[in-house]
Symmetry: C3
Subunit: 137 residues, 3 copies
């Protein structure tokens, strides 16, 4: 059995938006006792990730790391149609991924105490993003 719903949200440019509650609500609505939930972005310049949900500094430090892993406006990039953050966003998406898959247990999202689900915007400007949530069991 599959239950599928789409989340749409607007980002304010680079940074994370927590979507744990939205995903948990869709899992609850699915009425699936045991299974998996996949959370997938329909874009190649942002990511869905799991990370520490207590101290916001963790997500700021991830931003610091991402700037080193994939520099903006690097002289070696051929793809720069949409600005210095264009190719950088695609590189970050390869490293951080496009989706996560999480267990569903007793009808609920099964996360560790410190795990939260975040949309991570990799473009510097605000964007409208679509996320597909699929619950299977």
């Amino acid at each position: 059995m599959t239950h599928q719903q789409t989340i749409e949200l607007s980002t304010r440019g680079r940074g994370t938006t927590e979507i744990t509650a939205e995903v948990a609500q869709i899992v609850g609505a699915a009425r699936i006792e045991s299974g998996l939930v996949n959370v997938f972005v329909l874009h190649t310049s942002c990511s869905v990730v799991l990370t520490e949900n207590a101290d916001p500094s963790v997500r700021q430090d991830l931003e610091t790391l991402a700037r080193r892993w994939v520099p903006d406006g690097d002289a070696d990039y051929r793809h720069s149609d949409e600005g210095d953050d264009d190719m950088a966003a695609h590189g970050r998406n390869i490293l951080a991924g496009s989706s996560i898959t999480v267990p569903v247990s007793k009808g609920k999202l099964l996360l560790g105490t410190w795990q939260g689900i975040y949309l991570w915007e990799h473009r510097t400007h605000a964007h409208r993003r679509k996320i597909v949530v699929s619950v299977l069991g």
Copy 2:
């Protein structure tokens, strides 16, 4: 219900081979209305990734980035049995991953407009690669 099929292909060494059409065809053959499809490589020196499908420069730039993330023939590597690209390929596989999981909706692969599915060969020489496609719903 599960529908499972294997794709085999030959790479020409480092670089990407698009497999979106092959995966879409298997999803169509599965006759599953709603669910997930997992695309998995049976190897630790190549990856299956989602990335931008319009401008081929994006995939060239990913290659440029990967050479920096995981240098070939680094003096600190202990594992170099098969040459300078051996350990580099395993490192790239950890960063870019071995599989992707994508929603199936209305019997079709549900991708964003600019998302394509690629086999990314990390070895410098040509290899024969096996990819398992599993459709669940």
Copy 3:
């Protein structure tokens, strides 16, 4: 149909612990002919990864690479409550991921000849870790 079981293990600090046999046993117990198995850690400072299972040097070299990708005790980190390896562990978790999803075929885990499943501890000290294994088909 879903079969779900939890693996608990103690790590000795940074490094990999192979869990292929434990996952294969759970897949066997699930009695699911064809499907997928997801192996998920309930933590944000370790990873579940697939990598080469023959030469242990590969996992040592991954450790060398990870120290470069995400340095310990970097002066730019704001999050360092639990020591120099605290933020580094969260950064490694983003790069290497929290879970893998692998095909199940003929009632068995379907891996390539050289693929093994590992828990990769990113903290320097020993930790108790919980891994949820979900088999769907």
